[in-house]
Amino acid sequence: MASLVGSRVERKEDTRFLQGKGRYTADINIANQTYAVFVRSPHARAKIKSVDTSKALKSSGVVSVLTGKEIAEDKIGGLIAGWAIRSEDGSEMKVPGNPPLAKDVANFVGEPIAVVFAETLDEAKEGAEKVKVDYKVLKAVVDPADAMKSEAIHDGVDKNLCYDWLLGDRKAVDEAFSKADKIIKVDLINNRLVPNAMEPRACVVDYNTASEEITLYTTSQNPHLSRLVMSAFGNVAPENKLRVVAPDVGGGFGSKINVYNEEIVCSWASKKIERPIKWVAERTESFLTDTHGRDHITHAELAVTKDGKFLGFKNETIANLGAYARVFATVTPTYLFGPCATGVYVIPAAYSNVKAVYTNTAPVDAYRGAGRPEATYTIERLVEKAALELGMDKTEIRMKNFPTQFPFKQTLVHTVDSGDYVAGLEKAKQMADYAGFEARRKKSEANGKLRGIGVSSYFEACGIAPSAAVMSLGCGVGLWESAEVRFNPTGQISVFTGAHSHGQSHDTTFAQIAADELGVPMENIDVVHGDTDKGTFGMGTYGSRSLTVGGIAIVNACKKIIAKGKRVAAKMLEVNEDEIEFKDGEFVALKSNKKKTIGEVAFACYLPGQRDEMKSPIPEGDEPGLIESSFYDPPNFSFPAGSHICEVEIDPDTGNVKVEKYTAVDDFGRIVNPNIVEGQVHGGLAQGIGQALHENTQYDETGQLMTASYMDYTMPRADNFPDFNLGFTCTHATSNPLGVKGCGEAGAIASPPTVMNAVIDALGGQEISMPATAEKVWRACKAMKKSKAKAA
């Protein structure tokens, strides 16, 4: 039987998604439901003097109005930071309380203060307008660069500093720098991004007054984790009385990892008002309150010898957490960022120092790549600048510092199991016709345009593991994944996974994997996810972990099925177990060549007997049924890597930047479904190129979000991109039996520096910050013209 893993199987999901048959949270309606509308702070920082709900309560159709006072009285817990980070001086990070409804103080525009439930959405909106909140507006802290010098916005958080974290050895770095021929320096801003999932956040809550069970339908990347947090920290309901369902979810990119205020409030309130509740965010609410991404200010230095060897690296970063520390907010700029900032290079000494600060802006958390895009941008801007200052070819300097032996012990934390960085860059050069660039540049020049080429080589650490290691570094949960493989008596199979698909196509890829393991047609397999009442448990999907962690759990559960199947088949075929071979869905007795299909074995497991004879196919010590589960905790992270090359053409008259060519060569280990992986790369590139050229989140000095709609926030569109030129190299991961590596975030990690290196190359090395918008580039072109004229 041909292997399904590796083939371009069409997506099982396509039928329902392309025909509009997806079932999203907003599609779910419960009889007698009320509609929730939240009253949100219009101020970035204000004392809440009083909340008057009396007029709202009298408004037509209003069922109930609840505020921070009631939620505090009911001892409902707030939102949490899931990873404890320790400062360089040994002190623990400072995390302020983040109640689901702000009671005393509001800390960003959009923070919920109260909620109105009414019979219709319009009535709820009308009621919300009648809630009178008396604010005392305070001076907002908006710019992260000033946060440590500003008034503390949270009690007990001195200098607005969450932590001052260090990874690495400052002394060793100083020594390395003292031996350098040249120090390359960059000052970078990693621009804040709004995730903009196509589906806004939503929740529908159904409280059963008889069983006292709350069912929460919600837009989550990790329903089990949501249940755990809401139960353990939120005090909303015990886990056995809380069912969380994340049905079809239209994109997450990290913004749907968190349990948000609205889900906690609606779940709690549904029990309180004994009515089902529906809440669907409007796009403005998404802009204001979905966790944002990135937002770093970085100064970094690279110590080099004159022939281009790297000696040392230092990274001083201020990370903006926004108003509160959310689930992965504290680890994103530390362990997900710091170690990767030395990139794919052998650098004998390095450190990353990160100061995380609070400001009166929307909370910042993991967003596609989470820390690794910021890391890659830092090192790859440095390396490109080093090539320029040393007069070296930008690919040569990279080749010179690549490790060639694997496993590769990276400077700060990771031991990278496998890779071939040289092969990746060679392939990218060839696919991009790197050698022919000069001719293309001249051609552009003849047309009055500026052409630039940019390179970046990256690795990233995803599929975070193992649990004992991450928990030792402060993670609040283990990062394993579970799976259950359930044969039904008539031979179809349900594969339950704790991972969650919100665009990743698990229905297809996980079915491919299980079909190969079990030797059955893919059509016989249904992948079930997204419901805490179905399947064992799960940590969810983020950090490119689904395949490398969740996929392996499926493989292991399948292996247990085969192991039991062998025992049963041996008994049925009246041979010893070691005489049975499993191949292509059949258990074969090697000597007699008698066979039982896996379907026959499953049937026998559920109907273990026969007419007129006392005879069971179940061996002694085994039980009927054919269901196996696995909890997989990988021994290491997964380390995808690659090299990307971009060419841009700039019109100096307008500053318009056109991405002319984009070549991405990635090593994702063994690829399960090339179509899906290519789709993941395309999506990641779109987000990364969006960051480099288009997307920018801007607050004014009072903390109002100025880019709170698509009128002002530039979402990239298809016509902003060229056809992507994708290639792959393959070194199998040694940390898992499939040899796979994560692929979901790589595009967004590698592309911002690739594009910016190309833009800066076109500008003759003149540095500009992301996003490289037309006016910024136009100004740089003008400056270039001026300096050229001067030189002449």
Binding site: D122, M711, M715, T773
Partner: protein, 261 residues
């Protein structure tokens, strides 16, 4: 959205009768509906004029192109008559917003709203358009009076826009990367006697750049405006583009338009 009374009159007379200080005429609803949804505008009565047959359609006579107020952008873009008479006008209509907007939005709605970055007002100005209302005829120059302001009186309905057919014309815009409205748009029209350079997006209201128009009137070539400085004073400055950048674009796109004529 707050509840309102919806009316669908069959003729202009009925429509104007329904109008009051708390009513709005609705054509494509490209601005009216979002404003109502966001709570920025509330009306007691919404008077939908889309079913008034007389208000829609395109007529080309010898010297002018007459476009009914509720004619959609997509219809103007696809009209062979418009493409033949004033290709620049068809091109302008074909690049407004996106396909959805072009199939709902109307010319009458666009000019009555007079968004400072809308495309159509520049065509009206450059093509010496006359705006026909139910009460009078208004020259474009007098119609666009300020940011989101026009000479229309309360309850007055635009019935059609009559464009003068030029010898040559072209429209060039630099779209806002987010909204794709015009950061600036330049409509250049060469008439028998003179040239009009109408600019949208740059200031609070569409205007004719008299200096550029004059220079091109005496010599219709892009070299005629080489070195002409477009002043940035009075131009919009926002997070998408500074006044200085807009001024640069106005001179650049005027040249582009002349060259494309």
């Amino acid at each position: 959205m707050k509840t309102f009374n919806y009316h669908s009159p069959k003729d202009v007379k009925e429509a104007t009768k329904l109008a009051s200080s708390s009513s709005a005429f609705l054509a494509g609803g490209m601005t009216t509906i979002p404003s109502m949804k966001l709570g920025l505008a509330t009306y007691k009565d919404v008077i939908d004029i889309k079913n008034i047959k007389k208000l829609s359609g395109i007529k080309v006579s010898g010297k002018t192109v007459m476009i009914g107020a509720t004619t959609k952008h997509a219809e103007v873009a696809a009209s062979k008559d418009v493409s033949k008479a004033i290709p620049a006008l068809a091109k302008l209509a074909g690049n407004i917003g996106d396909a959805q907007v072009r199939n709902r939005g109307t010319i009458g709605g666009s000019i009555s709203n007079n968004d400072p970055s809308a495309c159509y007002p520049s065509a009206c100005m450059a093509l010496n358009a006359v705006i026909h209302t139910d009460k009078r005829k208004i020259e474009a120059e007098k119609f666009f009076t300020g940011m989101f302001e026009t000479a229309l009186k309360s309850g007055e309905i635009v019935e059609a826009v009559e464009f003068q057919i030029p010898e040559k014309a072209d429209y060039q815009k630099h779209p806002n990367p987010a909204s794709r409205y015009a950061i600036i748009g330049v409509f250049v029209a060469k008439h028998k006697k003179d040239v009009n350079v109408a600019v949208t997006g740059a200031k609070s209201c569409v205007y004719i750049d008299k200096d550029l128009s004059k220079k091109l009137s005496s010599n219709f070539s892009s070299s005629a405006i080489d070195g002409t400085e477009v002043k940035s004073s009075g131009m919009n400055s926002d997070m998408h583009a500074s006044a200085e950048y807009r001024a640069n674009l106005v001179s650049l796109y005027t040249k582009k338009a002349v060259e494309a004529c």
